[in-house]
């Protein structure tokens, strides 16, 4: 198993996380899921990455981008991997 370039920090059954998963699949992207705890205080791995403890959060080694908040992430994925991105924008 090779390590995908995109890492998704997610919480089981979190609808915002599932929204990002749907978008990753839509663009056919490989990603590694890292599941964290429901308790915010237990999410140090996420805090070290983004400075916040909220999920979803992604790290994209293709672009060096790290971000959280599902709306931002979905927009980022569309802009980077969507049809619009193919034009070289």
């Amino acid at each position: 198993m090779t390590t995908p370039e995109i890492t998704l920090y997610r919480l089981q059954a979190c609808p915002y996380c599932e929204r990002v998963v749907r978008k990753l699949k839509e663009h056919g992207l490989e990603y590694e899921s890292r599941f964290v705890e429901p308790m915010h205080s237990d999410r140090n791995a996420v805090a070290r990455l983004t400075g916040k403890r909220s999920v979803p959060a992604i790290r994209d080694e293709n672009t060096g981008v790290t971000m959280s908040e599902s709306g931002n992430i979905v927009e980022y994925l569309d802009n980077t991997y969507g049809d619009a991105a193919a034009g070289g924008a």
Partner: protein
């Protein structure tokens, strides 16, 4: 230990020395998160430790002992020590925290990995639950089995001194 016969488990046709360790992918749980990981993704020689469900006293005994002996640290820090039980990732996280241990654990609720390795245990009195017999498999860098021990009685614990000597030879 006790002055009566302990329960013998049926003979196990387990993965043996010289065989290739079967590969598997399961969520691997650390102290911060879990993610699907293949055994073949792990580095170096491996000490693969099967143990009864988190919360049962053998689980606690086995990992206290491994932690206190520092397997995979110091002289043997090239060896990756990992556990496997039927417990969920949430239970593993709590267990790792409670035992204050620096080891990661695979979550295998279906016990298919135990099946793969020939180390399954159908629990009496807990209908529908099958789990991993206490077992230790030491794998070299190519994942060839160098040492295999599977519990033949219930309960039974690894010969820690023997395993430790074998780990040092990996």
């Amino acid at each position: 230990m006790v002055d009566f016969d302990v329960v013998e488990l049926p003979e196990a046709d387990h993965v043996a020395v010289g065989e290739d360790a079967p590969d598997f992918t399961r969520p691997l749980v650390g102290d911060e998160y879990w993610s699907d990981t293949a055994l073949s993704d792990l580095d170096g020689p491996i000490a693969l430790v099967f143990f009864p469900m988190d919360g049962a006293f053998p689980a606690t005994y086995v990992w206290n002992e491994i932690r206190d002996r520092g397997w995979g640290h110091g002289d043997t820090d090239d060896v990756t020590v990992v556990g496997v039980s039927v417990s969920t990732p949430y239970e593993h996280k709590t267990f790792i925290e409670e035992r204050e241990m620096d080891y990661e654990l695979f979550s295998d609720p279906s016990a298919e990995v135990a099946e793969q390795y020939g180390a399954i245990h159908d629990l009496d009195g807990m209908t529908g639950i099958r789990e991993h017999r206490p077992a230790v498999f030491l794998l070299d860098e190519d994942h060839t089995v160098e040492y295999a021990w599977v519990a033949a009685e219930w309960p039974e614990f690894p010969d820690y001194d023997e395993v430790e000597a074998q780990i040092e030879r990996l």
